[in-house]
Structure formats: structure tokens, C-alpha cells
Amino acid sequence: MTHNSTQPIEKVSIIVSHGSLEGVYPGLIMANGARMEGIEASLFFTFFGLDAVIKKRMNNLKVATVGNPAMHMPTLLGALPGMSSLATSMMKKEIEKLDIPPVGEFLTMIHDTGAEIYACRATVDMFHLKPDDFCPEVDGVISVGQFYEKAAGGQIIFT
């Protein structure tokens, strides 16, 4: 097979492994952006990334203010009570200004574009989660093997 670097991307499978606000949004934006370009897209939520598809948690994700050098804030300051909530509400305002929806609405939108949404089997078992814990957009709980089957022929993006 000859490799052509200008060949357009036709399919992406995006893994979301972090549960902070800044950990979840990039994957969602990339999935939605892919669909807007006519690229087939699926999202696979694993480990703490699963919080983004858990009904009770999806709209309460927080910005990590500790262990995040790009916050340009001393670690001890970031650890003060309320600091993460403050950073979160500031970031949510900026996100809203860009017309990026809250996580729950964004997932509905992405699912409506025809993208598929999956939860990781190992994590679901580890955290003892039930089907009822997830938002209705989740198309299924799948194993790593099934993920690779579904990702066949496309690009895999880990976030």
C-alpha cells in the first residue's frame, strides 16, 4: 500500500481518559469537529474520563488547579478550598462565550451528529457502575478488544 500524506482522514476514534473539565472538552471538541468535516467519529470513555458520561457527574466536572503547571498558580494556592470551583466557573464562562455547550448538551449534540459513544468495560467493572448510571447517549459498554475492532481503518486519538 502506498502512503499518501495528503489523503484525507476518514475516521477517528477518540479516547477520553481524564475526568477534569480540561481533560474532557478537547476530546468532545475533536469528535464534534470531525463530524463537521464529514469524518466518521466515535468516543471511548475510560478511567476517570467516564465521569463525562455519568448522569450525576457530567455537568459538575471541575478544572484541576493542583498539579497543573499551566494554571500559573502556586500548588498550595491551588489547593485552597473553593479554588477549583472558582477556576471552573471562570472557564465555563469562557467556554459558553465560544458557544461550546455544557458537557451534557454537547454529548447529545455529538451523538445526534451520528458519532458513537462507548464506555470502557474494565473501568465500569472496577467502579461497579450500572447501565442506569450512564447518560442515554452511551451506545454500549465495550472491551478494549471491541474498541480496536470498531477503530479499525481509522486514526486513534488518546486524550
Binding site: I29, N32, G33, R35, M36, E37, G38, L98, D99, I100, P101, M109, D112, T113, G114
Partner: protein, 105 residues
């Protein structure tokens, strides 16, 4: 510089293949671009989206995001993807005679 024969005239296109001058646009041109994009007929729902995009562009200089399209044009996301398969914002902008949308959402 790319050109295309649309509505019986030779029109200039931009680097993305969209109309370079939106004054070249008319409904006949829209129908011909749509046909080239695999949309054989523009229904009233297509026109609702196209007209909404044009009116936002007139006011703001960029095409609306998908979220805004969904919220304000009265056509939901699912329908949008059925009307303009494989990339509604990009396709609708092209058919509406507008440049490719700049936004990420």
C-alpha cells in the same frame, strides 16, 4: 485561481472551492452547487438553514456554529446531518455562497 461554471457564468472560487464573491450567488447557483455536493433537491428545510446562515454572515462576518444553527434555525442536529450529509456547516456554507466557517464548534 479556480473557477466554475455556475448559473451559466464563469465564477471565481476561493482556495476551499467556495464562491470567492458572494455577490455572484443566487438561488440557481445554490441549486447547482447543491447538485455537485450530492444534494439533488433543495427543500424548504434546506432553504431555512441556508437563509439563516446568510443572515448571520451578513451581520457577523462568519457562519454560525452548529450549536447556533440547531438552536436558532429551527432545524435540529440530526436533521441537519440528514439535509447536508458529510459535514453540514461546511456544505451549507458552500451552497449558501459563503466561505468555509472559521469556528471549531
Amino acid at each position: 485561481m479556480q473557477t466554475a461554471i455556475l448559473g451559466g457564468k464563469t465564477l471565481t472560487l476561493d482556495a476551499d472551492g467556495n464562491l470567492a464573491d458572494r455577490n455572484d450567488w443566487n438561488e440557481e447557483v445554490a441549486r447547482e452547487i447543491a447538485a455537485l455536493e450530492g444534494i439533488p433537491e433543495l427543500t424548504p428545510q434546506h432553504w431555512a438553514v441556508l437563509n439563516f446562515m446568510r443572515s448571520v454572515f451578513d451581520k457577523e462576518g462568519d457562519s454560525p456554529s452548529i450549536r447556533r444553527l440547531t438552536k436558532e434555525s429551527g432545524v435540529d442536529t440530526k436533521t441537519l446531518y440528514q439535509l447536508f450529509p458529510k459535514g453540514p456547516a461546511k456544505k451549507a456554507a458552500r451552497i449558501a455562497g459563503l466561505p468555509k466557517p472559521k469556528g471549531c464548534i
